[in-house]
């Protein structure tokens, strides 16, 4: 079985975020991490491989330096990496990204493609469905459990009450939720072995994609402004014995907690 895990490099969730004049997030190399949501899809891919054998491939679209992020996934145990990188890709929106990933996936070949449920930078969560659309294949989204037997993939998806079971033929795409597993730590050996694993780089030309169909120019999505959300915690402190308890109770009743 050939399993491809799509992985995005995102800024660390705790890194300070700055925006350029074009309202695009400035990405600093030292803040780069694996999109935390993708750790779950990497783990799931490795677990499926442990069960069924085959090959695990990490696919990422990003700057040339994103090989470092791919290596982190290889240190967890994936077999090899593919990076799609091209200057013309800068500013691609979710649909343009999906177009590129779909082309790369076709080129690599797969039985199963795994995604995280969203990326921690933009929280769009559109890429998995858009890739499925480009490929004309089913997407089992928001999986909290995945069973795969070589011909069908079956997932559980949390519903308002209980969960839904959804099944499809493979090849198929699956996006996973954080509750699906507990991602492993890479090991020292994994880190050292990751240096010897191959990461192939593909350009737009390699994928046969016209540069005019991707990148900022071809992206319908435009960021107009960015603002910092400031959360204000309003604490009210009631001191002493003098009716403090009554005021707390009154507050809780007002908030419909009691």
């Amino acid at each position: 079985m050939k399993i491809v895990m799509c992985v995005k490099e995102t800024p660390s969730t705790t890194a300070e975020k700055r925006f350029g004049a074009d309202m695009r997030l400035e990405r600093r190399k030292e803040d780069a991490i694996i999109n935390p949501f993708d750790e779950y899809s990497i783990e799931e891919g490795l677990r499926q491989q442990e069960k069924h054998g085959g090959e695990t491939i990490v696919l990422s679209m990003g700057p040339a330096t994103a090989t470092d992020t791919i290596r982190k996934a290889l240190a967890m145990g994936a077999d090899r990496g593919v990076l799609v990188s091209d200057p013309a890709l800068a500013g691609s929106d979710a649909v343009a990204t999906a177009r590129v990933l779909a082309a790369a996936l076709q080129k690599i070949g797969f039985d199963l493609v795994l995604f995280g449920s969203a990326a921690a930078d933009a929280y769009g969560g559109i890429v998995p469905s858009a890739v499925a659309e480009f490929l004309g294949l089913p997407l089992l989204s928001f999986a909290t459990k995945l069973d795969e037997d070589g011909t069908t993939a079956k997932i559980e998806r949390q519903a308002e009450v209980g969960y839904n079971t959804v099944e499809t033929q493979t090849p198929a795409l699956v996006s996973v939720m954080k509750s699906i597993n507990e991602p492993r730590y890479p090991s020292m050996k994994g880190i050292m072995q990751s240096k010897k694993k191959t990461i192939d780089t593909m350009s737009l030309a390699d994928l046969g994609i016209e540069s005019g169909t991707v990148g900022a120019g071809a992206s319908g999505e435009k960021a107009l402004s960015a603002e910092k959300i400031t959360t204000q915690r309003k604490g009210e402190i009631y001191m002493g014995n003098d009716g403090a308890a009554e005021r707390v109770v009154a507050f809780l009743v007002e908030q419909k907690v009691l």
């Binding site: 470092d68 982190k72 730590y185 890479p186 090991s187 020292m188 050996k189 994994g190 880190i191 050292m192």
Partner: protein
């Protein structure tokens, strides 16, 4: 001139930091309070590759450099010094078996040690022999294919928890330093028992205790190296051990500085955060300088060891400076937190209690100064 960890070392540092902060730090206070040895964590440590840092890959180890080792211990000690200590002792013992053991001994112990299943301990000190290690009395008498071991070891880290003990014994009544040998004793050997466990000021999550040998019979195949190699074997671990203690001390000090800095930003007195007062700022600045200098000394000593250069005086400087610094930094951290620093709701009093022992074991700091001074006097004598 190297002043930067390579990519792999940075990756390992980030991984160990994540592991230590998620799996160790949240429990450190409770382990200290309950004197709990976190054996349950050992397999996970093994899975990460941290239980065989000096073990060759053929025996399941990660065969890391000394420099990478310091990066690991600093991170673990930031979460919990006790864990860093027993792990460093374990790795040292596995390293000795890897270096001095024959192939059969390596196969027998190393894979399980590296996997985090078999825990190692090191027994040199005795009631009458601490700094003066060559004066040990514990006796191993040869009897056919066996040794019969009698005596008591003191101050053994992981006593009662470990599965294999590298024990320094006297195999020759007469010869002082040359009569010392190293035997590997497994925990359930008849005639071997655990005596008193110490009630310590700090380092509560790392048990320290007594080993008692009463006509304890061991096959001679448990001898590491040859008879008389014992002192050489324990001396060979000294530089590395000291460097690791320096790294651990740097980690505790860093943890203390991190808490102090945050506290100084938040705590308000006289209408200002206390970090706005120069008196506090200067303390923080001195703490930071001591930590940076410690780290560089530790890196330098480890780097020299990795390069195969003479490292002994550098290891002694790193151990001595970093542990003295850690004591000063953790004491200042308690001062900066004031009353909060003295109570157990905050971790700095634990850091201070833990840091103290690092000035004492693995060669007391007086001994380190002797080592450094000797290297100076010696070299001056040579030049003249």
């Amino acid at each position: 001139m190297f002043l930067r960890l390579d990519d792999e070392q940075q990756e390992i540092r980030d991984l160990v930091r994540k592991f230590a902060q998620q799996e160790i730090a949240p429990h450190a206070e409770q382990w200290d309070e309950e004197s709990h040895f976190p054996r349950e964590l050992f397999p996970a440590i093994g899975e990460l590759g941290l239980a065989g840092t000096l073990v060759p890959e053929d025996y399941g180890g990660a065969a890391l450099s000394r420099l990478t080792g310091t990066v690991i211990y600093e991170q673990i000690a930031q979460a919990d010094m006790s864990t860093a200590i027993w792990l460093a002792v374990h790795n040292m013992v596995a390293g000795l078996i890897a270096k001095f053991g024959n192939d059969e001994q390596r196969k027998r112990w190393l894979p399980q040690m590296a996997a985090g299943e078999t825990l190692g301990a090191f027994a040199l000190s005795e009631a009458h022999a601490g700094s003066d290690a060559a004066s040990i009395r514990c006796l191993a008498r040869r009897d056919g294919d066996d040794y019969i071991l009698n005596g008591t070891k003191f101050w053994v880290t992981s006593a009662g928890q470990a599965d294999v003990y590298a024990v320094m014994v006297r195999t020759d009544h007469e010869g002082g330093a040359r009569g010392i040998s190293t035997l590997v004793v497994e925990k359930d050997t008849p005639g071997f028992s655990i005596g008193k466990l110490e009630r310590k000021m700090g380092l509560h999550a790392s048990p320290t205790g007594e080993l008692i040998f009463e006509d304890c019979r061991l096959p001679a195949t448990n001898l590491l190296g040859n008879e008389g190699d014992g002192l050489k074997i324990s001396l060979s671990s000294l530089d590395g051990g000291r460097i690791n203690i320096g790294a651990i001390a740097t980690g505790v000090a860093q943890a203390a500085l991190d808490v102090s800095t945050r506290y100084a930003q938040d705590r308000v007195a006289f209408g200002k955060p206390i970090g706005a007062f120069e008196g506090i700022q200067f303390m923080l600045a001195d703490m930071a300088m001591k930590i940076e200098a410690s780290r560089l000394l530790v890196y330098q000593a480890a780097f020299k060891m990795d390069e195969g250069e003479p490292a002994t005086p550098y290891a002694a400087m790193a151990k001595c400076f970093a542990t003295d610094s850690a004591m000063a930094v953790t004491t200042d951290a308690v001062q900066i937190l004031g009353g909060a620093g003295y109570v157990r709701d905050w971790p700095v009093e634990r850091y201070m209690r833990d840091a103290k022992v690092a000035q004492i074991f693995e060669g007391a700091n007086q001994i380190q100064r002797i080592v450094v001074a000797r290297s100076l006097i010696g070299s001056i004598a040579k030049v003249r």
